[in-house]
Every structure is written in structure tokens, then in C-alpha cells.
């Protein structure tokens, strides 16, 4: 061992490097406040490791991004855990970086000779926000898509350079495939390299000028190792344990696949961009660049100049009152914007009777569910493909199975085993007309583990009727179907239930010239359920 160390010392100077690092005198008082930087560094490494792992399974194209993230989250081994760590790590990164900076500001530690390190730290904060902005587009879900639409349009209002800047960010006229590859390249290549470079300089400068310590003399010191190193270790461990807890208890969210035509899900950025998002609401028309660029830009500039604006000899709080008050006001302002932004979320209410559960599933699945129940599939496979605990040993669960019968084999199985349709079908109609919907439902149970049988009755009945009556022959619903009639979306607020029921019975009466056939023959309860379903569709 000794010979190995001697070799490393003589060839590399490793032992003296370690000694210089470990024996560095650091302040004893307020020592816990000086662990924030180390914790931020640790979380950065967590992000690097988990990010590398995620990149192994992620595909940055609009056709595959969402699917690959969904696979990571639900199917790949430990994928949910790794993605959870990365997701919560991003928030922890922002919290720790800002706390570290606030501590530095409060202690006036940016003063001569540490001005340059303050600037490097500021650059690192910008990088952290850059990581956040480029990172949350990658899942290509609704939140990702809309937050990036807004984010890339923000510079567009700038005079002269605005449109070009916006186009460059998006990689084209609109957010799409080119945006995804751009953000991916920034997120996994450029930003990490810059971050490592800036972190190295940050640590180098820290060692060169040593810790500034707390604000008052006299200031007892002790060597960094083992005392401060142990404190750093404790805080870092606590942060990492918290990340594991969050990742296990609150899995990283994945919303629906990005859909430029869906406006029901209200676009919200990640919490750390909420202050900026909120600021956009206050500056209207030509004043907009004030909120988007001027105010944020000025604050950054002011922060950068702080070491030269506040340059007295004493770092004691009572000698720096104006600076501290100013800093406190800015912090309080940001916090207020964050809170207002969080409270100001526009509420789009789900129609009553829905239990507020939001959007109903595709009618094909509900048609499949009705058929599953009618054909008695549940007697062997259980409700939603999950046999009850006391089911017979022959019961076969369908949920989350890698292989279920498919295609002709499944059709044959259904025809052989199932109870024949109990509800009389219309004269001359194919009695197995419901089979495609049934197959879609079974596949959704096996692949996505859907549970539909507990949905409110109007949604189940209405969706099944819409599927059975084949409304999609003429209407688009969830982006699928014919164009002869209007799209069935966003009806809530535009039509009410009475109108819809009356319209089903006699379309011409309410819409002159309508080509839609009347559906008087359906039971009133079904018409009412169909209306409930349609009003719940976003």
C-alpha cells in the first residue's frame, strides 16, 4: 500500500494534492450552512449517473420519445426508480443551488477576492435552469410539448432578433422533431461538458481563496477532513435518501402523448419556471419583452455586479443592511410570483357526475369493456382481467401480461368460450361485431394495465353506446374517425346535456340541414349517458 502511494505521489503528486485538499482550514462556526455546495455537487453527480442510464433507453424522436419514456417508467427493470431519481434530482438541484447562492449572498462571501467565483456560480445556476428547460421536453408528453411551445415563443417578441432566436431554439417554425434533437443534444452533450468545466473552475477557485467563512471575527478553524467532510457526507446522504423516498413514493409523472390539438390539459411549466411564467401575465402587448427578457436580464446583470456594488470592508450584516434588504426583497418577489403562479392555475372543471376524474377513455375500450362483461369473460379472468383473491385456480389474469392471445387465436377463443351476446342485437347484424373492441380492451389490459370497470356508469354506458353505434363513421373523436360531421371535442361549455339529448333524437330540429340520422330508438338512459361522455371529452 505504502509503495503504491509513494508511486502515485512521485509520478502524480496525488498524496500532496489530497493533503492540500483535506487539510484546508475551514470555519467551525455555522459549519452546517457550508454543506450546501457539496450537496449540490452530489446531486449533480446523481443527475449525471441517472441521466446516462436513461439515455441508454431513450429515443429523441416525436414518434418514439414518449413511448421510450413510458417503457422506462413501466416496463424496464428499475426504470421507474432511475427516472424518479432524475426527475426529483432536477428539483433538488435547483433548490440546493439557490440555497447555496442565498447563503453566499447573505454572508457577503462574493467580496474581493472571490468576485470571479461568484460569477462562475451564477453561470452554473444558468446551466442548471438550462438543464431543466431542455430536460423536460424530452418525455414528449403534453406538459413537455406546451411548456416548450411557450418557452421557444418567449424570445419571439424581442425587436429585430426575436423571430430568428425563436426559430433557432425550435430548430424550425414550430416545436417538433428538430426541437427534440436540439434539446437532447444540449441536454446530454453540451450542458454536461460546460457544467463539468464550470464546476472544476468553481472548486479550483474555492481552494485558491479558501472558504470565506461566517461574517464575524474571530473565526476558529479546523481542517476540512474529517470534520467538514463528515458534515458534507451527512447532508449529502440525507438528500440522496430523500431522492430515493420521493422516487419510490411519488413516481415521475408522464402525461398523455403530446397533442398539439388538445387544449384541455392546461400548460404549466415546472415549478422553478413558474415565477417567469407568472411574470408573462403582467406585461401586455408591446410591453411583453419587459416581462420575458428585460426584467430577468436585468436581475441577472444586477446579481453579476453585486461584488462590485457592495464592496465595504466589513461583512457583518449590520454594515450591509441596504444590500441585504434588497436581496431579501428580490427573494420575496420571486417567492410571491411562485406562489401566485401556483395559485393562479386556471381551473377547467370536469362536468359534474364524473367524480372529477378527467377525461374518459376511448369509446372503443368502453365498448370492449361492455362486451367483456356481456360475454362473461370476467367469470374466468376477473373484472378488468384481475381475478378476485378467492377465484378458482383455473382463473387466468390478463393484466400486465407479456403475452395474451392475439389475432385469430383470440377471436377463436372468444367465440368458443364466451357466453353468446345476451342483449338482442339488431336484426341482420353480425353478432360478433363487438369483437374488435373486445380485443382492443384486452390488449389495453395486458399492455397498459387499464382498469375501467370502476368508472362512473354514465361514462361506461355512454362510451360503449358511442362505440356500438359507430359515431366515428362520421365524427372525429380523440383524433380518429370520419370528417362528415363536426369533431367531437371541447363540447363542454358549448353545448349542454339537454341540447345533446334533443339533438340525438332529432338533429334537424336543432341544426337545420344536418345530415345526421336520428337516434330516437336508443333508450333515454343511453342517450343521456352518451351526452355525459361527450361533455367529458376534452
Amino acid at each position: 500500500m505504502k509503495r503504491v502511494l509513494d508511486f502515485l505521489e512521485s509520478r502524480f503528486g496525488l498524496v500532496s494534492l489530497w493533503r492540500a485538499f483535506a487539510d484546508e482550514p475551514v470555519s467551525v462556526r455555522r459549519a452546517w450552512l457550508f454543506t450546501l455546495g457539496s450537496a449540490a455537487l452530489a446531486v449533480f453527480l446523481v443527475q449525471f449517473v441517472t441521466g446516462f442510464a436513461l439515455a441508454l433507453a431513450y429515443a429523441p424522436t416525436p414518434d418514439h420519445a414518449w413511448e421510450s419514456v413510458k417503457a422506462i417508467q413501466t416496463r424496464l427493470f428499475a426504470g421507474g426508480l432511475v427516472r424518479g431519481l432524475h426527475h426529483w434530482g432536477a428539483s433538488a438541484m435547483v433548490v440546493l443551488a439557490v440555497a447555496h447562492m442565498a447563503r453566499t449572498f447573505a454572508f457577503g462571501a462574493y467580496r474581493r477576492p472571490r468576485e470571479l467565483n461568484w460569477l462562475v456560480g451564477l453561470a452554473l445556476l444558468v446551466l442548471v435552469l438550462g438543464f431543466g428547460f431542455t430536460g423536460y421536453l424530452l418525455p414528449w408528453d403534453q406538459k413537455a410539448y406546451w411548456a416548450t411551445v411557450v418557452g421557444t415563443k418567449v424570445p419571439a417578441a424581442l425587436p429585430f432578433v426575436g423571430p430568428a432566436a425563436s426559430r433557432l431554439m425550435a430548430g424550425g417554425p414550430a416545436v417538433g422533431a428538430a426541437t427534440l434533437t436540439r434539446f437532447y443534444a444540449l441536454h446530454v452533450v453540451l450542458l454536461p461538458l460546460l457544467a463539468f468545466a464550470f464546476i472544476s473552475v468553481h472548486l479550483l477557485l474555492l481552494r485558491r481563496h479558501s472558504h470565506a467563512g461566517p461574517t464575524t471575527e474571530p473565526d476558529p478553524k479546523e481542517p476540512f477532513f474529517p470534520f467538514q467532510a463528515a458534515r458534507d457526507g451527512v447532508v449529502t446522504l440525507a438528500v440522496i435518501l430523500a431522492l430515493f423516498w420521493l422516487a419510490a413514493r411519488h413516481p415521475a409523472p408522464l402525461e398523455r402523448l403530446a397533442d398539439p390539438t388538445d387544449t384541455m390539459s392546461v400548460p404549466r411549466p415546472e415549478w422553478y419556471f413558474l415565477p417567469l411564467f407568472q411574470l408573462l401575465k403582467y406585461f401586455k402587448g408591446p410591453l411583453e419583452p419587459i416581462g420575458t427578457v428585460v426584467l430577468p436580464g436585468l436581475s441577472m446583470l444586477l446579481l453579476a455586479l453585486v461584488p462590485w456594488l457592495d464592496r465595504g470592508a466589513s461583512r457583518r450584516p449590520r454594515d450591509r443592511r441596504p444590500v441585504l434588504v434588497f436581496g431579501g426583497l428580490v427573494g420575496a418577489g420571486l417567492l410571491a410570483l411562485l406562489v401566485f403562479g401556483a395559485l393562479d392555475a386556471p381551473k377547467i372543471k370536469a362536468p359534474s357526475g364524473l367524480g372529477g376524474s378527467g377525461e374518459p377513455p376511448d369509446p372503443r375500450l368502453l365498448g370492449g369493456l361492455a362486451s367483456y362483461e356481456r360475454r362473461g369473460c370476467a367469470s374466468c379472468h376477473g373484472a378488468d382481467g384481475r381475478p378476485a383473491a378467492d377465484a378458482s385456480p383455473n382463473a387466468v389474469g390478463l393484466a400486465a401480461r407479456a403475452h395474451v392471445l392475439q389475432g385469430d387465436a383470440l377471436v377463436a377463443h372468444v367465440k368458443e368460450k364466451s357466453v353468446k351476446p345476451l342483449v338482442a342485437e339488431k336484426e341482420g347484424e353480425n353478432p360478433d361485431k363487438d369483437v374488435p373492441s373486445l380485443l382492443a380492451y384486452v390488449e389495453a389490459i395486458a399492455k397498459d394495465g387499464v382498469r375501467l370497470s370502476a368508472l362512473p356508469e354514465p361514462i361506461r354506458v355512454g362510451g360503449a353506446a358511442i362505440d356500438r353505434e359507430d359515431c366515428r363513421q362520421c365524427h372525429q373523436l380523440y383524433g380518429e374517425g370520419g370528417r362528415r360531421g363536426p369533431v367531437l371535442a371541447h363540447l363542454f361549455g358549448k353545448r349542454d346535456k339537454d341540447w345533446l339529448v334533443a339533438h340525438f333524437k332529432e338533429p334537424k330540429k336543432l341544426v337545420p340541414g344536418s345530415k345526421m340520422p336520428p337516434f330516437r330508438f336508443l333508450p333515454e338512459a343511453e342517450l343521456s349517458a352518451m351526452s355525459d361522455y361527450l361533455l367529458a371529452v376534452p
Binding site: 406546451w146 414550430a174 387544449t263 392546461v266 401586455k284 362528415r484
Partner: protein, 165 residues
């Protein structure tokens, strides 16, 4: 001494030229999206039979929402994108109708029609537009983009020439 200085400058100059030529090539690639490749072209998208929109003329219903799909060039691929439009009455148009893009002119969120308030609302930053797309409140800098409609063979069609390629 003169030659030593000249040599140093020449060496630095060569290194800079080599570095900037590579950086320039990469930068040109990064700036590529600033060039518009697809020339603007007029294309008509079918919105369905004109008779389906008759209630609009009569003023008995709110704006009729339509979703159209078109092909756009997007980075390394061409993609089908869907866009939402609201068909509204327009006294000045020959067809008596016009289409409003349902993309907020502020920062690009999707607006939706609120029947109770008789206005298009943007969920992002609180923009409000009247039934004709005019700005009523909030930060939007200009009205909703208005596109002309034509009737051809009894079908209502949207002229997409004004849309950004």
C-alpha cells in the same frame, strides 16, 4: 527576433484559422433552421360539406371547431401535424365564413371556445378573444389569425397559404 515574432504570430493565426473553420462548419449547421426551405404554397384543406356550417350563418350556434391535418417539414423529416381552427361568420367574406386559428398569438398555447362567456380563452396567460378573434383582454398582441375559406363543389375549404410553412 523579428523572425521569431513572425513565426509565433503565424502559428497562432494558423491554429485560429483551423479551429474556426471547424467551428464555422458546425455553426453553419446549427444556424441551418434560419433558412426557409419550403416555398409558401397555396393548398386547400377540406373541412367538410358547406351545409354542415349553415347554423353559423343563422347565428344559432357558437363557432364550429375543425381539426385539419397537413404535412410540414420538420428538421430531418416531414410530419403530419394537426391544427385547430374555429369557423366563424364573416360578413365581408364571399362565403360568409372565415376560419380563425385557435393558436394564441401571445405564446402559442391553444385557445378554446367558452360558450358561457362567448369568448375564446387561452389557458396559459389569460388571453381573451371575442367571437371574431379580436383581443378583449390579456397579453395577446394581435387578434387570432384569420384565414380565408372557399366553397368548392359544395365543400368548405381552408386556404392555408397564410400559414407558416
Amino acid at each position: 527576433m523579428e523572425t521569431r515574432r513572425t513565426f509565433t504570430l503565424a502559428a497562432i493565426g494558423t491554429a485560429l484559422a483551423a479551429a474556426s473553420s471547424v467551428a464555422g462548419a458546425a455553426l453553419a449547421f446549427v444556424l441551418g433552421p434560419l433558412r426557409r426551405r419550403m416555398p409558401k404554397q397555396s393548398a386547400f384543406l377540406d373541412l367538410g360539406p358547406a351545409s354542415a356550417f349553415e347554423a353559423l350563418h343563422a347565428g344559432t350556434s357558437g363557432p364550429e371547431e375543425v381539426v385539419v391535418e397537413r404535412t410540414v417539414e420538420d428538421g430531418y423529416m416531414t410530419r403530419r401535424v394537426k391544427e385547430r381552427f374555429a369557423v366563424v361568420p364573416d360578413a365581408e367574406a364571399a362565403t360568409g365564413l372565415a376560419a380563425l386559428s385557435m393558436t394564441c398569438t401571445h405564446l402559442g398555447c391553444g385557445v378554446s371556445w367558452n360558450g358561457a362567456r362567448k369568448a375564446f380563452l387561452c389557458p396559459c396567460h389569460g388571453g381573451v378573444y371575442g367571437p371574431g378573434g379580436n383581443v378583449l383582454a390579456g397579453p395577446p398582441p394581435k387578434p387570432l389569425t384569420r384565414l380565408p375559406l372557399v366553397v368548392s363543389g359544395g365543400r368548405l375549404q381552408l386556404d392555408t397559404a397564410a400559414l407558416d410553412a
